[in-house]
């Protein structure tokens, strides 16, 4: 078989058993891999009505036919489950080395079921799948966990340095163990399957970590064609200034860009501009301040992620990953924090504790506004918490460990803000914090966030890259196309940073054809994204999540460029574009077209 391994590894944690199943052909043909495959399994195997933190939820790690092949950026793995934060189906994506190793071990999918009676960690070395006790790891922070597992694996499997180095580990920090509803699954020293709280799902199953090292191979149908195509891609990319910029700056070019276009989420979205970031408008400045080296995910020519040095602080390690733009925006500008050392520390803390920096930032900025407005008394937190106050570092730890007010905040933004009488001050969509770009700055970004099936996610839309366009019809159409395209790219699975727009669909078809030997084209791939989008929507509706809304601040208070997001005007157009009813229910006709009639039963 080319590209795919055609195997699913299932682990029943309740019984402590594992077994391998053959992958049904239709999953490969119709859903390719990644988000497509795992969403399909969520839909087929998880009752949408269950509590996301109950043993009935499943945790699905998926790779795609391109994973580990060397197609540029094909390192990623997807994790899918029902989210404890939004109650929707959610599929965050993560880079690093874990995805490729799972693939080299011989599996396309890894599915966890049930709940282990005791904390465990799982190791996968080809067909040697083992579940080990992890009491000694419980409570440990993310990086320490990985280190201890590496040492353990070294002794257990007699691995040398290179193999230990090449291994991929997905793990949770204290936040995941303590079921913080926005806990991440961390991987390889600072990468995260970030949004929507799947770290808590992993914690609810008592899994501390999964480590994988595979010695197998991935077969490619047309080796010569593939080699030539990748070379051509590199040649083209090397000659372009865009490639240089993306490699050199990663996401560090974005704070300046966001500030310049007044779209920088700042002060709990009260503003679209953050004065303290002016000094970082030239990304060379950030490089000079903190960069140690560029760091790439497996098989990525860009290496957009940066290893940086946190200066003058004995509490932090010498070097750490990031901070990425989203983190700088939400934990930084949105909380009024503008010093690079502070940004590094906040990022480092969240990574170690295993919390999504975006929703965490939205939580804290909400608490800051509540505090400044006098709704959140100081006695409830124990210290002052105005915007820009570094006391927030204490709060980060309290949330992860559920201490004091952190216990309430760990329940998510709506629960917390409602307790203090102002649910509208939590800037979230379906419970998930709004990402870095202020929706009021771009015509349809608000629409993209509001209609996103997993809640406000920055990897399910690319709107800021089309800044300057003004035509609303273009935006509504673009929103649909872009959402569908990214669902396809996530099934590939390719990285959003490289393949950042629908025009890249051809490229993915090209890689898929060389690798799998099948006849994918952009035209045959496009409906796949739409099918996934509709399938996700149906799951959400069955789970009781129907509304596509934005916080009132975004639709009513003109904070940026004197504009609000006219969601009530855009939504009907969008629903029509999708072939859905006025209230956003997929129509029978649409579902027939997508061959999803059966899936729609009971909802439409």
């Amino acid at each position: 078989m080319f590209g795919w391994n055609g195997k699913i590894l299932r682990i029943d944690l309740t019984k402590g058993t594992s077994w391998v199943e053959a992958m049904p052909t239709y999953l490969m043909e119709e859903y390719i891999g990644g988000r497509g495959m795992s969403d399909r399994i969520v839909f087929d195997e998880i009752d949408p009505q269950i509590d996301a933190l109950s043993p009935e939820n499943k945790l699905i790690f998926s790779t795609g036919p391109l994973t580990g092949t060397g197609a540029p950026s094909a390192s990623r793995f997807m994790v899918s489950a029902k989210s404890p934060l939004s109650n929707c189906v959610s599929s965050p994506c993560c880079g690093g080395y874990f995805g490729a190793n799972l693939k080299y071990s011989g599996y396309d999918l890894l599915i966890f079921e049930g709940k282990s009676p005791e904390p465990v960690y799982v190791t996968i070395l080809n067909d040697r799948v083992e579940i080990h006790p992890a009491k000694h790891l419980w409570g440990k922070e993310s990086y320490e966990t990985e280190k201890m597992i590496r040492e353990d694996m070294k002794a257990r499997f007699n691995l040398d340095n290179w193999a230990l180095n090449s291994m991929g580990i997905a793990n949770i920090g204290p936040a995941g163990e303590n079921l913080v509803r926005f806990a991440c699954i961390m991987s390889d020293g600072g990468r995260a399957a970030g949004r929507s709280g799947l770290g808590a799902v992993m914690g609810s199953k008592n899994i501390k970590a999964v480590a994988s090292i595979g010695t197998g191979q991935v077969n490619i149908a047309d080796v010569e064609g593939f080699r030539k195509a990748v070379m051509a891609f590199y040649k083209e990319a090397r000659d372009s200034g865009d490639f240089y910029k993306r490699r050199r700056y990663g996401t560090w070019g974005l704070p300046g860009r966001a500030n310049a276009s007044k779209s920088q989420a700042a002060f709990n979205f009260k503003d679209g501009y953050f004065k303290k970031f002016v000094k970082y408008e030239d990304p060379e400045k950030i490089i000079e301040l903190i960069r140690v080296r560029d760091e790439a995910c497996f098989s990525c020519p860009f290496g957009c992620s940066k290893r940086s040095r946190i200066k003058n602080d004995p509490e932090y390690p010498l070097t750490a990953k990031g901070p990425e733009h989203e983190t700088m925006a939400l934990l930084g500008a949105n909380c009024g924090l503008g010093d690079m050392n502070d940004l590094c520390s906040a990022n480092y803390l969240c990574n170690e504790l295993g919390m999504d920096t975006i929703t965490t930032g939205a939580m804290i900025s909400c608490a800051m506004e509540l505090f400044e407005e006098g709704h959140l008394p100081e006695k409830d937190i124990g210290y002052p918490l105005e915007f820009g106050n570094t006391n927030m570092f204490m709060l980060l730890k309290q949330i992860a460990r559920r201490e004091g007010i952190g216990d309430l905040m760990a329940q998510g933004g709506i629960a917390f803000a409602s307790q203090y009488g102002h649910p509208e001050l939590f800037m979230g969509i379906k419970g998930m914090g709004i990402p870095a770009w202020h929706p009021q700055a771009f015509d349809a970004l608000g629409l993209q966030y509001a209609t996103c099936n997993t809640g406000g996610a920055h990897t399910k839309s690319t709107m800021p890259f089309y800044e300057g366009r003004k035509d609303p019809a273009f935006f509504v159409e673009f929103t649909k196309k872009d959402q569908d395209y990214l669902a396809t790219a996530d099934s590939g699975i390719l990285c959003w940073i490289i393949y950042h727009g629908p025009e890249w669909g051809d490229k993915m078809a090209e890689w898929l054809n060389y690798v799998t030997g099948t006849g994918f084209t952009k035209e045959t791939l496009d409906p796949l994204g739409e099918r996934i989008w509709n399938l996700e929507k149906l799951f959400n509706m069955k789970a009781g999540v129907k509304e596509d809304t934005l916080p009132p601040r975004i639709t009513k208070e003109p904070r940026v460029k004197n504009r609000v997001v006219p969601l009530d005007k855009l939504l009907p157009e969008y629903y029509e574009m999708r072939g859905w009813d006025k209230d956003g229910t997929p129509t029978k006709k649409k579902l027939e077209e997508l061959k999803l009639e059966k899936e729609g039963e009971g909802v439409i």
Binding site: G68, I220, V230, Y234, R293, D294, F298, S299, F302
Partner: protein
């Protein structure tokens, strides 16, 4: 001709491992690659498999690179009995860089996007 390695610009992407195995075995498997990358905190260290020796050396030590202490075995090009990494995982056959043909056309150099591997005249 030789391959010059600039470990400071290596990003740890491991594309060199992938193309080396693809070029030599027709499938992707870093365990069959003749180049292996050690990913460190401050820098990464690509090492190309040199000639195979029957005996392990007895002068092993550590070495400083950019202020970091690293195991000398890691920086050595030779494949020896104490470096199992340079053997095929299933057959145990030692792996050795063949410079990708004659005239040399190192595939790893071509796939190293940050240009950290370059082909230079002696």
């Amino acid at each position: 001709m030789k391959i010059k390695i600039d470990h400071k610009t290596c990003t740890g992407c491991k594309q060199c491992e992938i193309i080396c195995s693809l070029a030599h075995t027709g499938s992707v498997n870093p365990w069959r690659s003749r180049i292996r990358v050690y990913v460190g905190e401050e820098f990464c260290y690509p090492v190309i498999a040199g000639p195979y020796t029957e005996a392990a050396c007895n002068s092993k030590g550590t070495r400083m690179v950019e202020g970091l202490e690293i195991d000398e075995c890691v920086t050595c090009r030779a494949s020896c009995p104490s470096k199992s990494v340079y053997k095929e995982p299933d057959t145990g056959i030692p792996l050795k860089c063949d410079f990708c043909g004659d005239p040399p056309n190192p595939q790893c150099v071509q796939w190293c996007a940050p240009n950290c591997l370059t082909l230079v005249e002696e």
